[in-house]
């Protein structure tokens, strides 16, 4: 298996799907001539030409809407947001048009579109560029939301997203574009809505996705050194959520910690926690504990940024809390 970067997995997925289906095209700021702000579309312009790889003006609302219209008349656009912090400019098109068109047209129009780009904090970009939109996006009916953590999952899920006949939001991370992982040579798909156990364990379930998955894995490693066996569950898709996998893991370990880069109020982790308390009430030996970003605009200062984001140390503390130790 080849060891490739997260950005290469994205480029491979898009290239394979564009080769497979000529209705698929990519549009976004700097995706063509500059090969993508984070080089996630490297080589696509050369391979597919300017008709299928479009540099857009700086106008998220404009090209998001263009994508929705293209999807309604039979194309399969991939719209790259340079970051989701800019993507909120296009929320009207995403929330009011992409997500609702199938419903409002009585099923006459499908909107097979993918909106993708990095989500959450990178490093010292300040409060307007360091936000997680998982909760806002998963709160809208009519869209699927994927938030992968590894190159392997990214490639398999992005291909499924491009083939899906509904709007799919694909959340990446600036901090992970350089992350390397093994990806098989041949084609493979990962179904939307299926989670993955990234590390099996017995004493506690830690749910985490996107770059928080790696925080959870680091915490699990620290916990192993003190004899705690943590199961790390990556839902991979946030909407729809693989609830059965979550319930079965919690029923095994009886304790749950959720690591979520989003703010804690009405967060995706809050939704998971609610479902677990309802469906696994008698299986819980402790209240579900969530580790979220602190409820403040992200500070620019490095040490303060570190204090706001979930860390492995905070996850370890949360696990000790649900295990009633130290």
């Amino acid at each position: 298996m080849a060891l490739i970067q997260f950005r290469e997995a994205i480029a491979q997925a898009m290239a394979e799907e564009m080769a497979r289906d000529d209705r698929v095209f990519l549009m976004g700021e700097e995706v063509a001539q500059y090969n993508g702000a984070y080089k996630a579309s490297k080589g696509l312009l050369d391979q597919f030409g300017a008709n299928r790889v479009w540099d857009s003006p700086i106008s998220e609302a404009g090209f998001a809407g263009l994508g929705v219209g293209a999807a309604m008349v039979g194309l399969r656009p991939i719209i790259e947001m340079m970051t989701w912090n800019f993507g909120i400019q296009g929320f009207d098109q995403i929330v009011n048009h992409a997500a609702k068109m199938c419903y409002m047209s009585g099923g006459q129009f499908n909107v097979p579109i993918v909106f993708r780009g990095p989500n959450g904090a990178a490093h010292m970009l300040g409060s307007q560029h360091s936000q997680s939109f998982d909760a806002m996006l998963t709160n809208v009916p009519g869209m699927k939301v994927i938030s992968p953590s590894t190159p392997y999952d990214t490639k398999g899920l992005l291909k499924s997203a491009i083939r899906d006949n509904n709007p799919v939001i694909f959340l990446e991370s600036e901090m992970m574009y350089g992350l390397k992982g093994e990806v098989p040579e041949g084609e493979y798909l990962i179904p939307i809505g299926v989670g993955d156990i990234k590390r099996a364990g017995e004493h506690v379930t830690i749910i985490a996705w996107n770059k928080m998955l790696h925080v959870a894995m680091a915490a699990a490693e620290q916990l192993a050194s003190i004899g705690v066996s943590a199961e790390v569950l990556d839902p991979r898709t946030l909407q729809p959520l693989d609830e059965e996998l979550i319930f079965s893991s919690v029923r095994k370990t009886h304790r749950l910690v959720i690591v979520d880069e989003g703010w804690d109020f009405a967060a995706t982790s809050a939704q998971i926690s609610d479902r677990v308390q309802k469906e696994c009430f008698d299986d819980l030996d402790a209240p579900v504990v969530r580790v979220n970003s602190l409820f403040v605009p992200m500070p620019y200062a490095e040490d303060l940024e570190h204090a706001v984001l979930p860390t492995a140390e905070r996850v370890v503390e949360a696990v000790k809390e649900v295990l009633y130790v130290g």
Binding site: H254, D283, Y324
Partner: protein
Amino acid sequence: MALVIEMPKLSDTMEEGGIANWLKKEGEKIGEGEPLVEIETDKATQEYESPEEGVLLKILVQPGKAVALRTPIAIIGAAGEAFDLAALTGGGTKTAATTPAAASPTTSAVPPKPTAKPVGAVAPTQAAPVVVGRVKASPLARKVAAELGVDVSQISGSGPAGRVVLRDIEHRSGSGAAAAQSAQAQPAVAGAASTTIPVTMMRKTIAKRLLAAKNDAPHFYLTISADVTKLEAWRQQLNGAAAKAAKVGVAATKVSLNDVVILAASRALKVHPEVNSSWQGDTILQHAEAHVAIAVALPEGLVTPVIRRADALGLRDIAASVRDLAGKAKDGKLSNDAYAGGTFTISNLGMFGIEEFTAIINPPQAAILAVGAALPTPWVDEHGALVVQQRMKMTLSCDHRVVDGATGAKFLQTLVSYLEEPMQMLV
């Protein structure tokens, strides 16, 4: 409107019920109050009457199957009535569901009318434990405790604010899960075929209650023997008189040695009410009356019907009560009230020649008396002479949370003095 019949709660300790036999077939008419089904509870098999007139439209649980309380077991409605089984049984049981009154010993969707009515006037009930503040326990701890028959209120929790969590239950029950697993992993040995016997409701209850008793109550044991020579003479006189009375048509129950032990124990309990008590967590409940349970062996297990107010009954009344309860127990006809509210238990294996044994306390009681056989025994009497006496050994198992060694010993002294000089009990 079709009515869902749910598994009724026919006894206080019942958690599931088995269908022994359907007394009506599907499509058969049934009147209100007519016996519909025989239900095997943890205590006995009881008839359950139809709460409504109609036709038995559907049997949902076949004989031999056991289901949890409030599980739908049948549908009753008008002849030929169409009904949506899924809607009726899938959370849609509102039509039949009434208030799940926790106070009633017969809580069910449809108030059941047990055929066996309480015997006697007012059956004394166990006073509800006085709960000071609610017990904090994790949902999982509560579930596992219920499965193991452990009372969470008796466990001190190690979680925040004293919350009882899983590990507290596991410590208490000697990590039951692990024990159960290793028990299952018995290696298969070639040779004669072993038999797997399904566990009956009664056996399940015995297992659960006795395990809980051994786990929760710190037992200690006191053994003493009594010279029953005088007592035997007195008893034979009484039975001789009874035989004479019978000849002139006056029925009088014969009394056994065990009846006299019940009499003596009930009187001794009046003198030592500390033994006639129950551990309540934050308090100890000292019972005003002695309701003596007697262990009755049945082929399928053990039951402990209760002689109400034994301390106020005469010997012949005790004897009659014992015959009645034991007879009903053997016929499986004891009502659930007959088991409730005992404050002390006597178990007697003397008839099997057992010299002495120790018994497990029947919670929430604080003590149980294990009675051995009365046997001719060499004995050094008060003059230092070796004599042969008819002596009977008894062992008192005490819950040390309630009864201390000296307290139990004083009770046994009083008991022995009553047995050795039975006339004392008459004054």
